[in-house]
């Protein structure tokens, strides 16, 4: 059978003697079975050629007509290297290539057995003939692999090997017509043994051919060398677009030893067994910076198994999770998979690598905080299982989750700003695949010394700052919550210090801008931030904030479009509760004496606003509490007078203007008013306040 095949080749007169040389080489190692397959493929190719080029092969086509396919010629005798005409594209490398390897597309002759005659030869010996093919979709869109027939889903079903073999073979024959397709993944015959082992000097990391896909698909193209993907890529310009030349087992003719060496592991019978990699290969495959799988990992057939060795302290699984994993592993191993010739392209090692990487990304120092649902889920499963086991066995102590002592890798700036550039470069890494680029930073870096900034920019900056400070605030609150858990002495102190520092940081940041907190107070989120920060502040600092609020009360009230001011009320009330009498008086003075507005106006405005009124009430209430408590007040000079005056003013206002419903109506207000005012006024006040609030104040 082999001989007859070879005879056919020899009979072609056009192929020069090189073909015989080549054939001699092939003789030694050519597998007869391979030739059979080749023959079958030839028939396919013939059919295709007929379809494409037409049966009338003897028609000469002149160069005037546009050619959509250029067929490559047989190699000229080695001694005779003809110069290429300049307009001809086949580049020197190709010729050199052909020259070098004594290449003869002998088998291509077979492909054209279907009646393609020899056309007119042009001055370029590289061109046999030119044919005008009909413009097919493939020529228009090079990405289309094959449009001869739609690929039905049958092609995907590997129900039996033969079936898939046939189908994909058909596909592959025509796949190669596509110029965008360089090569189809090589297969080797099941029984073939790779005799060649070549030195591993090949720079391209295509050693991923470890898992042998079985079966079909242009065995011819790769001969017995396999991985011709590599080699074809290494031969630039070797292929003319749409050239049936692609089908030729050109690569098998190439002297790998000379030009391209690559390591190719010997063939194995089991496709799912990943081949062992030489260290060099490993290096090639993973690149310089990628995390390498640990050398003690030995690949096994089961991708699941190696992982059960639990990669050290790097990854921390919940113990319940580990148990479940183990159970499922055993189940998994028993399952047999359907046959897929391309399966396990991705080896176990590679899968492990990715899993490892993903787990690194999941490392955290407080898993309960960052991965709450996972922790909770497994805790509940554990609890349920413990409950179930309670009846069966004696109650076992569920394994405690070990605190991971992982050192988190240093954070690096994922956003790189190059000096003088307008934008930023977001570095995408596996820890942060996609980072948002904040517009503010770019702006800031762009004009650091500009004092005159746009209002918009300023607002952006303030907004940005609020966001940043909120993050810190969340940490502060978290540590506050953790205080409830029992911690060792030193840790607790450290925690406290840390919290304090954070609080101070937030406070100073808020102040830094304009000296006061106004810009932040004008933004509703800023109000919320301050409201949550106040409980953590020392009395002095809190007092300052209160002062700012009071001084700017009209502005705040006017600009409170979203009505978030009330959120400040509870913490401010607490602050007020800690004021001394003098401080209180000072505050009240500020309240009533604004720069732009008169006292009356101030008070009126305050009365109209929920927050303002509530604040006023709170202040008065506190004053009353202080006065009636009997504690020595240590008032400054003029305090009492101020106090009385304010009372009268406020009383006057309250009785006259319409009041809104306050957030909280202190109970001792009327008592206060009773002391200073006459009954009638008090009565009037009472009515007014009641009508606003809808509930009774304490009877005088």
């Amino acid at each position: 059978m082999c001989d007859s095949e070879q005879q056919q080749e020899v009979s072609e007169p056009q192929w020069p003697e090189n073909g015989e040389q080549w054939r001699d080489e092939e003789d030694q190692t050519m597998d007869c079975g391979l030739l059979e397959v080749m023959a079958e493929e030839d028939e396919d190719i013939n059919v295709y050629n007929q379809e494409t080029f037409g049966t009338d092969m003897d028609t000469d086509v002149t160069t005037d007509k546009p050619s959509s396919s250029v067929q490559l010629p047989p190699t000229p005798p080695p001694s005779d290297v003809q110069p290429l005409p300049p307009h001809r594209t086949p580049p020197p490398p190709r010729q050199r290539l052909q020259h070098q390897c004594g290449f003869v597309p002998g088998q291509r002759g077979r492909g054209y057995r279907g009646g393609q005659g020899r056309g007119q030869m042009f001055e370029d010996p590289a061109v046999i003939r030119m044919v005008e093919g009909r413009p097919s979709l493939k020529s228009l869109d090079s990405a289309i692999v094959d449009c001869g027939f739609a690929m039905h889903r049958n092609a995907f079903i590997h129900n039996n090997n033969d079936h898939s073999y046939r189908k994909s073979r058909r596909v592959s024959g025509s796949i190669l017509q596509d110029s965008a397709i360089v090569c189809v993944i090589g297969h080797r015959g099941r029984d073939q043994q790779l005799n060649c082992s070549l030195d591993s000097t090949f720079p391209i990391a295509f050693g991923t051919r470890r898992a042998e896909p079985r079966g079909p698909c242009s065995r011819r193209v790769f001969g017995r060398r396999g991985a011709s993907q590599v080699n074809i890529l290494a031969t630039p310009g070797a292929f003319a677009p749409g050239s049936p030349f692609l089908r030729q087992p050109m690569t098998s003719r190439l002297p790998f030893n000379q030009t391209w060496g690559f390591t190719f592991p010997p063939n194995r019978s089991c496709p799912s067994t990943p081949q062992p990699l030489t260290p060099k290969m490993m290096q090639l495959r993973f690149g310089t910076n990628s995390p390498r799988p640990s050398p003690f990992y030995s690949p096994s057939s089961n991708p699941v198994q190696p992982f059960s060795r639990c990669p050290g302290p790097v990854t921390q699984l919940h113990p319940q999770h580990k148990r479940l994993l183990g159970q499922k592993q055993r189940m998994f191993q028993r399952k047999s998979e359907g046959w897929d010739p391309y399966c396990n392209l991705m080896t176990a090692k590679e899968k492990e690598w990715i899993i490892r990487l993903q787990m690194i990304q999941l490392q955290s120092e407080n898993p309960y905080h960052e991965d709450y649902y996972y922790q909770e889920y497994y805790r509940r499963i554990e609890a349920k299982m413990a409950e179930e086991e309670l009846g069966i066995k004696s109650k076992r102590e569920p394994p405690k989750l070990t605190t991971p002592y992982i050192t988190k890798t240093d954070a690096y700036a994922p956003v790189v700003h190059i000096e003088g550039s307008l934008g930023q470069v977001a570095v995408s890494t596996c820890y942060s695949p996609r980072r948002a680029i904040s517009a503010v930073h770019a702006v800031q870096a762009h004009c650091p010394f500009e004092e005159q900034k746009d209002n918009k920019q300023q607002r952006l900056e303030v907004l940005n700052k609020i966001e940043m400070l909120f993050m810190v605030l969340l940490e502060v609150e978290e540590s506050e919550r953790m205080k409830t858990t029992v911690l060792p002495e030193t840790e607790e102190r450290r925690l406290m210090e840390k919290t304090e520092r954070k609080v101070e940081q937030i406070y100073s940041e808020l102040q830094s801008h304009s000296g006061d907190f106004l810009p932040f107070l004008l933004i509703s989120k800023g109000k919320r931030l301050l409201a949550r920060l106040l409980p953590f502040l020392k009395h002095e600092s809190a007092g300052k904030i209160l002062h700012v609020v009071i001084c700017n009360l009209p502005t705040l009230m006017n600009k409170d479009s979203e009505e978030t001011l009330p959120v400040l009320y509870p913490p401010l009330r607490n602050v007020i509760g800690g004021l001394t009498f003098s401080q209180l008086i000072a505050i009240l003075k500020d309240l009533t004496s604004s720069e732009s507005l008169s006292t009356l106006e101030c008070l009126t405005q305050a009365c109209q606003n929920k927050f303002g009124l509530s604040l006023l009430y709170a202040l008065l209430s506190h004053g009353e509490k202080l006065l009636s408590s009997g504690v020595p007040l240590e008032p400054s000079i003029g305090d009492f007078e101020m106090w009385t005056e304010i009372i009268f003013q406020v009383a006057g206002q309250l009785s006259q203007c319409s009041l809104v419903e306050p957030l909280l109506l202190p109970s001792n207000l009327l008592t206060l008013f009773c002391r200073y005012l006459d009954k009638r006024t008090v009565h009037q006040l009472k009515n007014n306040m009641e009508s606003a609030t809808g509930f009774l104040a304490l009877p005088s």
Binding site: V145, A150, I355, Y377
Partner: protein
């Protein structure tokens, strides 16, 4: 078997037939052969499926490498389940033609819409292609 529950992992999807929708609207169907930490995908025996109305056409594309960020969604295809009877498969040329017509009509309606808005003094600015965060 997902080693890290609570996360998405494509490890279990390897060597299975998938359908992936890309950000540019293309639909690819193929065998998922390889992934990496960015969810870049390597598809084998890929077919680009174009849907126009009730018709669809498959264009065989071979091997596809998809950059992870361009994936909208990805799902496994059950090869045993029968293909839906509602959709009708047509040849590539036909579906491309249909698609072209569809694009054409869309463009025309868009143009008319813009003109109408312009007449009324309104203008809708072109949507930026980048994602908004």
């Amino acid at each position: 078997m997902n080693y890290v529950p609570g996360t998405a992992s494509l490890i279990d999807d390897i060597d299975k037939k998938h359908l992936v929708l890309l950000r540019d609207g293309r639909t690819l169907i193929g065998f998922l052969r390889s992934i990496d930490q960015f969810a870049n995908l390597v598809f084998h025996q890929t077919v680009e499926r174009i849907h126009v109305g009730k018709k669809f056409g498959d264009i065989p594309r071979g091997i596809f490498i998809v950059r992870g960020e361009n994936v909208v969604l990805l799902g496994e295809i059950d090869v045993e389940k029968p293909c839906d009877a509602v959709l009708q498969q047509v040849s590539i040329e036909e579906i491309l033609e249909e698609q072209r017509l569809q694009q054409q009509t869309k463009q025309e309606t868009e143009k008319v819409k813009l003109q109408v808005l312009k007449d009324r003094g309104l203008s809708i600015p072109k949507a930026d292609n980048l994602d908004e965060y």
